[in-house]
């Protein structure tokens, strides 16, 4: 084999050029975990069983369609039952199914054993993004679609990872047993990572368990798999699997950042700073429903431009963003966004698109509301 290095190099390089061929992929990937390999094997076994049965049955059909035609002078036989044959073709499929059920059961039992995990991550589905919380680590963040709207609306060329890219991927250590606790804040979503063969519905009010142990570092991509409303097709999942050392560095960095974020709350903000920050928050968090120019998509998603809420008392506006509005699609962002971001986005909404209220909500106001409500 060492005599043919070019062949091997071509093989190694193939993932880079696979973009051209990937368009015609016809089969499931093998994935990057022990479970995904055994699922792939089950898939291939049952597929070949079907192919063999199909070849026999369709073979017999085509044989009789070709040989037993009236145009060949065929005279119809009169037989119309055979207990022996009928018993045989009842028993044989049962035996095949039993043979198939055994490995499937083994794999399933393994999939359901989520005990003794090294790291627990709470995955929460939101319309239309994912939230990841590293339990016991004081690290949590949202993961939003990063594909620019211009690519979606065909105003600029689409990238390789079109619709499969996020602003902040979930980061995991390689080789460790990760337990996912999957839930939802609004409707049912489904967290699906094909390379791990993990798919679990995220159900509001309930927590589902799943686990994985990834064999090699890399970026893995998936999507929400349960219809969850308008932007169901636009909430991808990206997992960045790092070596243990890299992961620890990353986690330490995140902890420092979250401590800094807390400091930001106590800082004195100017209106310009809040509006600038709010602009960004609005365009990641609010824009899907309320639209870039605040015009909304009435009647499900009301306009903010000139709305009663955005031009009325600021306490009421803050309360709507913080607690949501019961019985409507407006979610409670009090637990989704930091104090700074809530203050910023409310201030932005009150001063954008000609709303020009000229007042501001500070992070301290938000903190006060939070403390008042937790009492």
């Amino acid at each position: 084999m060492t005599r043919h290095p070019p062949v091997w190099m071509g093989f190694l390089l193939s993932p880079i050029f696979s973009q051209a061929q990937a368009a015609w992929t016809v089969n499931m990937g093998q994935g990057a975990t022990v479970v995904s390999h055994s699922v792939y094997d089950l898939h291939m076994i049952i597929f070949w069983i079907c192919v063999v049965i199909g070849a026999v049955v369709f073979g017999a059909m085509f044989w009789s369609m070709i040989v037993h035609r009236r145009s060949t002078g065929q005279v119809a036989a009169r037989f119309h039952e055979s207990t022996k044959v009928e018993i045989m073709w009842t028993i044989v499929p049962i035996l095949i199914l039993v043979a198939m059920a055994i490995p499937a059961t083994k794999t399933l039992i393994n999939i359901y054993d989520s005990t003794e995990s090294d790291l627990d991550i709470q995955v929460t589905g939101y319309q239309w993004k994912w939230h990841y919380k590293y339990l016991g680590q004081d690290v949590e963040f949202f993961s939003n679609l990063a594909t620019p709207s211009d690519q979606i609306h065909n105003k600029e060329p689409k990238g390789e990872h079109y619709l499969l890219e996020v602003d902040e991927p979930l980061v995991l250590p390689v080789g460790e047993k990760i337990r996912f606790l999957v839930t939802s804040a609004d409707v049912i979503h489904s967290w699906w990572m094909p390379a791990f063969a993990v798919k679990r519905d995220a159900i509001p009010g309930f927590i589902n368990e799943a686990w994985t142990r990834v064999e090699k570092p890399g970026l893995y991509r998936g999507q929400c798999a349960e219809l969850c409303g308008k932007d169901h097709g636009f909430m991808p999942i990206v997992v960045d699997v790092k070596t243990k050392a890299d992961f620890d560095t990353w986690l330490a960095g995140r902890k420092v950042e979250s401590a800094k974020l807390k400091e930001l709350t106590s800082k004195d903000w100017t209106m310009e700073e809040l509006v600038a920050r709010g602009d960004k928050v609005y365009h990641t968090t609010c824009v899907a429903c309320h639209q870039p120019e605040g015009q909304g998509l009435p009647p499900m998603f009301p306009a903010l431009k000139g709305s009663k809420t955005a031009t009325g008392p600021k306490e009421e506006h803050l309360n709507t963003v913080f607690n949501g509005r019961a019985g409507t699609a407006m979610a409670a962002f009090g637990k989704q966004l930091s104090e700074v971001d809530i203050a910023a986005v409310v201030t932005y909404e009150r001063n954008a698109w000609g709303n020009n209220k000229g007042d501001m909500v500070t992070p301290k106001d938000v903190l006060a509301l939070k403390q008042a409500q937790s009492k």
Binding site: W24, M28, R78, R200, K230, F234
Partner: protein, 531 residues
């Protein structure tokens, strides 16, 4: 019981031995099973074209990656309405139409047992679908939560038109239940002397069993949408965890209806194909008795497999195993049916008129849908297949070449009896081949994109899925256009053509071929004797 019917029959016969009434009121007031059957079939076909046009919108948007034609919010309304209209408006009424036309003719009955109810159960449908389709024009749009309308997307987060959707579902359910009661009453009471249960054509058997399935599960669907209504308008929390309910309860209730529902859509097609294949093989159906038992077994199993639609909602391991094993078992009676059809063809004297072409394609392509069903039954593998285009490919393979090819086969098989004219065989074959190519081109690539990781119900996708999606869309446009061609063939057959003899197929067997073509307005007013 039979004495009473006899009295009515004689009284009616003596006073006015009449043909159809004149004008529009004939159709509004008719209690004639043939008129009602015809209306069901036309209604079904118009819904098929409407649901099909929604599919064209879906495929046009998916022709290329990116958003071109519709916004995601409207796209979701299209997928939802396509599913609802095809299931409740196209496939189910088509089979009720066939039942109305053919069951009395096959069992030697003068009409359906409950003719006035028959009229009512038909006329509920246009009302229901008018209401359902009108939601598309309401503020906030029509239903956008998928034809499976999972809570809480269909309750707390639904557009306001959801209430009209619920009412429409109620009307469809009432219509189906009344239709089912009528079928059961007819089959059990109005069979000609000597027509024992085990002499009934399989189409009658499959419909008898289908009718029992309908009566068992349509009330469950009604309960399900009523609980939604309560949650939306009366502050209950059946499906909301915040109030002590459970969104997963919705799925259990829905699929307890939904799984038998998929057999409701296929069993009558099994029955029709079990008449057509023997006719064109000129050989009796192989294993009649085991066919009947297989249908009964499938019907029973359909009640205990519902949670295989829910493998990823987090049901416990034992539940997962139970539903996996039960689902795999369905392959056994289904296999028996396929083997019996193949054995019927074996050493027959085969010809391939249009009904036979559709029937043979039915057996082959439905089996392919069955194979992917078997793959989906394997719970661990389903974790990868679930809610991807692989599932879309699977159920379209079962429903399009299954239910819909079964309906086309039936239509061509019985058109001579209905219209008194032979259809144009060349055009019929052309319709078959265009449908066959279009259908496979549309749905076969969906297996590939599903396995490669494309979720269902998305308006846009990554570039890696682009090529196969374009193939699917082209196939869909071909298949869709072809069905307008079918309309042309049917109208041409009604307006003229070679006169059909009483029995246009030399290998056919059964009472419906003993009466002239077209079937007179009243048939079997005196019951035939079955030996």
């Amino acid at each position: 019981m039979s004495a009473v019917i006899d009295d009515h029959g004689h009284a009616g016969h003596d006073e006015h031995a009449h043909g159809p009434a004149k004008g529009l009121m004939r159709w509004v007031l008719t209690t004639n099973h043939k008129d009602i059957g015809t209306m069901y079939l036309w209604f079904s076909f118009s819904m098929f074209l409407l649901g099909g046009s929604f599919a064209m919108v879906i495929r046009a948007e998916l022709f290329q990656p990116g958003l071109q034609i519709v916004e995601p919010a409207f796209f979701n309304q299209m997928t939802t309405m396509h599913g609802l209209i095809m299931v409740f408006g196209a496939v189910m009424p088509a089979f009720v139409g066939l039942a109305n036309w053919m069951i009395p003719l096959m069992i030697g009955a003068p009409d359906m047992a409950l003719p006035r109810m028959n009229n009512f159960s038909f006329w509920l449908l246009p009302a229901a679908f008018l209401m359902l389709v009108s939601t598309l024009f309401m503020a906030g749009g029509g239903p956008n939560f998928g034809w499976t309308f999972y809570a809480p997307l269909s309750t707390t987060y639904a557009p306001e038109s959801v209430t009209f959707f619920i009412f429409a579902i109620h009307l469809m359910g009432i219509s189906s239940i009344m239709g089912a009661i009528n079928v059961i009453a007819t089959i059990l009471n109005l069979r000609a002397p000597g027509m024992t249960l085990m002499k009934m054509p399989l189409f009658v058997w499959t419909w008898l069993i289908t009718a029992f399935l309908l009566i068992a599960v349509m009330p469950v669907l009604a309960g399900c949408v009523t609980m939604m209504l309560m949650d939306i308008h009366f502050g209950t929390s059946f499906f909301s965890a915040a109030g002590g309910g459970d969104p997963v309860l919705f799925q259990h209730v829905f699929w307890f209806f939904g799984h038998p529902e998929v057999y409701i859509m296929i069993l009558p097609a099994f029955g029709a194909v079990s008449s057509i294949i023997p006719t064109f093989s000129r050989k009796p159906l192989f294993g009649y008795t085991s066919m009947v038992y297989a249908v009964a077994a499938i019907a029973f199993l359909s009640f205990i497999v519902w949670a295989h639609h829910m493998f990823v909602v987090g049901i416990p391991l034992v539940g997962e195993l139970f539903f996996m094993y039960a689902t795999m078992l369905i392959a056994v009676p289904t296999g028996v049916k396929v083997f019996n059809w193949v054995s019927t063809m074996w050493q027959g004297s085969l010809t391939f008129e249009t009904p036979m072409l559709f029937a043979v394609a039915f057996v082959i392509l439905f089996s392919i849908g069955g194979f992917s069903g078997l793959m989906l039954a394997i719970a661990p593998a389903d974790f990868q297949y679930h809610d991807t285009y692989f599932v879309v490919a699977h159920f379209h393979y079962v429903l399009v070449p299954g239910a819909i090819f079964g309906i086309f086969a039936s239509a061509y098989y019985w058109l001579p009896k209905w219209t008194g004219h032979m259809y144009d065989e060349t055009l019929g074959k052309l319709h078959f081949w265009l449908s066959f190519v279009g259908m496979n081109m549309t749905f076969f690539p969906m297996h590939f994109v599903g396995l490669a990781g494309m979720p269902r119900r998305v308006p846009d996708y990554n570039l890696q899925f682009a090529d196969f999606n374009m193939v699917s869309s082209i196939g869909a446009f071909l298949f869709g256009t072809t069905q307008i061609f079918f309309l042309f063939i049917v109208i041409k057959t009604i307006r003229g053509g070679e006169p059909a003899p009483a029995k246009p197929w030399d290998g056919a067997d059964g009472l419906e071929w003993t009466i002239p073509s077209p079937a007179p307005y009243h048939t079997f007013t005196t019951p035939p004797e079955v030996k």
